[in-house]
Each structure stands twice: as structure tokens, then as C-alpha cells.
Symmetry: C2
Subunit: 189 residues, 2 copies
DNA sequence: TCCATGGTAGAACGATCGTTCTCCTCGATC
DNA sequence: GATCGAGGAGAACGATCGTTCTACCATGGA
């Protein structure tokens, strides 16, 4: 059975995603990617023009996959309030999962200095999507300024992720959750 | 007048600090450092065993300098409450300052995958110092659990910095400040 | 049967990396 | 005045980077 053309591309993306998430873009050499994925150099360059092009594709896929996963997990909560608080429980589970290395997009922003770099745009867009999702939730609350609340909640989410990554303090998810609880109480008055 | 031996070392550190902060450790080549600083390769390697060794020194100096600056700026507030809220005003000023590129230590955590790497330890310690400072402030409040409050405030600080860096949203400092205000109101009851 | 296609293996290119080296200059100290 | 150490300019080393190339293999449709 001949492999479908898309299979090779996906194997490249899946392997590169793991390598980039674990070690970063710079530390992921094409040589390492070839050896780890079992895909030849020629095939890699058939599907991607350059390494940067491939890194972009990897991050775009991760953006979609992560957002879908996060949304699905959080939406298991019943009320909008539950879903909002659920975000921080989901984060805690993520922190404690094997191979957790923080947010790939925050890491990318740390790696790539130029704010106009394509991968930085992807990172920016990713956080924008996250803000949009939180805004969807706060809109369902009977609060006066749901967008301001969404931004405040995003600060909590980003803070927890950053503390987990830099300090290794996974309890930051709990701290953020406590604050979120207070915010919700305040918003419902 | 012959230059004091320490002058060359400090020139290396000052130049490397700027380059690393702007572009990251990987993107800062020794070649670029030589050209930018005007210090010869030989002199650099006289004061630092390796590039990694130099990067460590750079981050250690920045840790001390940033903490001193942040502390001094925040302490201009009068009451402990003022100082705590002042943190976010100071952050906003930092975000809007020329050449702002986020927190060098969060960036380092994004660049260096290995959590046991020496530079990652420096980053971790830096955030620990920041937590200690915030704890000093919350201890002066008549609240029951000053350490928990300090951790919550640190989540807000890290969240604001991360949003400023990744999204370019400097208003995150204001969002974090609003939440901090609510936390203080809650703590003083 | 032939041939286009997608794949692997691996050599090879030029560029750049961190690091070391040689050769030269200058200024302070004995 | 001789000596020594700090520093500068730049060549050079081996390693590794991203990228391209050649050679060969396997498959499926005309």
C-alpha cells in the first residue's frame, strides 16, 4: 500500500511539533528532525520551502489543536461561571501533564526578538483567539463590561502559564482561580 | 590613562545585555558582540570562559539591576496599598519605554528548553525574588494570608508582562491593576 | 512494460557558529 | 630603558547550520 502524500507531511509536522515544543525552534535542527521523524531531507523540503515555513505550519496547527482542546475541556462545565472557573482547573491539569513546557507561543515570543516575524504574528493571533473565547464566556454573564472582565481573566491565564513555565509553580493555576472566583462574585452583583 | 581592567568587562556586559535583551541569547553571536561592543574576542574570553558563562553573568546583573529599579520605583508609593498598586503603574511605564521587549527572564525560559540549564535557574530565582518583594508588601497589610495574596499578585504581574510581550497589549497593566485593587479591597475587610 | 511520482540515504555546499590562535600596540612598573 | 600584561585586529579551526544535490528504490496507472 502506497502512502498517501499527506501522511509524510503530517509525520513531519507531528515530529517537528514535539521537537519545537520541547526544545524550541532554534534548537530543533533539520538534521535532528530528519533522524527523529525518519523522513528524508528531500521530502521535508518538498512540503516546506524553508525551515521557517515549516515552523509556521507547525505553530498554526498547534494553535488550532490547542484552542480546540482548551475550549472542549472548559465547556464541560455547565454554567458560564463554571466554564470560566474550569479554565484554571484545565490549566492545572495541563501543567501537570507529562512533557509540559509552557505555552509554545509565549516561548516563541521569547525566542524570536523581531515582533514583525511571521511566527510572532501567529503567537499574537493565538492569544487573540484565546481572548475571544473568554469574551464569549463573559458575554453570557449579566455583567456590565464583559470585555474588560475577559481581559482581566486573560491576565490571570497568562500569568498562571508563565509562572508554571518559569518558576515551575503549578499551584499558580489555583491562585489564578481564586482571583477569578472573586472577579465573578464582583461581576454578579 | 590606562583603562581599569573592570572597564572592559563592564563594557562587554553592558553591550551583551542590550543585544541579548533585544534579540535573545541564540541570536546574539560573539561576532556581533565583538563588532557592537568594540571589544576584541580575546578580551571577551579573558573575562568569560564561554558564551554561556557570559550570558549567565549578563542575566545575573540584569536581575539585580531590574529588581533594584522596580523596588525603588514602587516604593515611591506611600502606604503598602499604594506600593502594591504602584507596581502596575510602574509596569505600564516599563511597557511603554523605548526598547521594551518583555521580561528577559521569561524570554530566556522560552529560549532554553532544559529546565535545569543554569540560565533557567537564574530566571527562576529572579521570579522568586519578585515574589519575596511582593510578600514584603502584603505582610504589611492587615490581611490573614499575605503569602497567598502575594502569589495572586505575582500572577497578575506575570500575566501583564506576558500579554505586553506576546500581544503587544500594554493596557494589560491597567487590567491587572483593576484586579489588584479588588484584591486589596477584599483583603482589608 | 514503461514511466512519472513520492520516497530514502547520504554526500556536499556555503555560511555561520563558538572558540583559539598569532601578531601587533600601548602604557604602567621595575 | 626593559619588561610585562591588557587589549585590538583578524586569521583560522572544527563543528554545525539550512539547503541542495545525486543516486537509487518502490509503487500505480497508461
Amino acid at each position: 500500500m502506497k502512502k498517501a502524500p499527506a501522511d509524510t507531511r503530517e509525520k513531519i509536522l507531528a515530529t517537528a511539533d514535539q521537537l519545537i515544543y520541547q526544545n524550541g525552534i532554534y534548537a530543533t535542527s533539520m538534521d535532528l528532525l530528519v533522524k527523529t521523524s525518519g523522513v528524508s531531507r528531500k521530502s521535508i523540503y518538498r512540503y516546506f520551502i524553508t525551515k521557517d515555513d515549516m515552523a509556521e505550519a507547525v505553530l498554526k496547527v498547534r494553535d488550532i489543536r490547542w484552542m480546540y482542546w482548551f475550549r472542549t475541556e472548559c465547556d464541560k462545565g455547565g454554567t458560564p461561571q463554571d466554564r470560566i472557573l474550569n479554565m484554571f482547573t484545565v490549566l492545572k491539569g495541563w501543567f501537570e501533564s507529562e512533557g509540559f513546557r509552557g505555552c509554545a507561543f509565549i516561548n516563541t515570543a521569547g525566542e524570536v526578538g523581531d515582533p514583525d516575524d511571521p511566527v510572532r504574528q501567529i503567537a499574537k493571533l493565538h492569544k487573540k483567539k484565546l481572548l475571544d473565547y473568554i469574551f464569549e464566556l463573559t458575554e453570557q454573564l449579566s455583567t456590565e463590561q464583559p470585555f474588560l472582565l475577559a481581559k482581566q481573566l486573560l491576565v490571570l491565564v497568562e500569568g498562571a502559564i508563565t509562572m508554571a513555565r518559569v518558576m515551575g509553580d503549578y499551584s499558580a493555576a489555583g491562585s489564578a482561580r481564586e482571583v477569578a472566583q472573586l472577579l465573578l462574585k464582583q461581576a454578579s452583583r
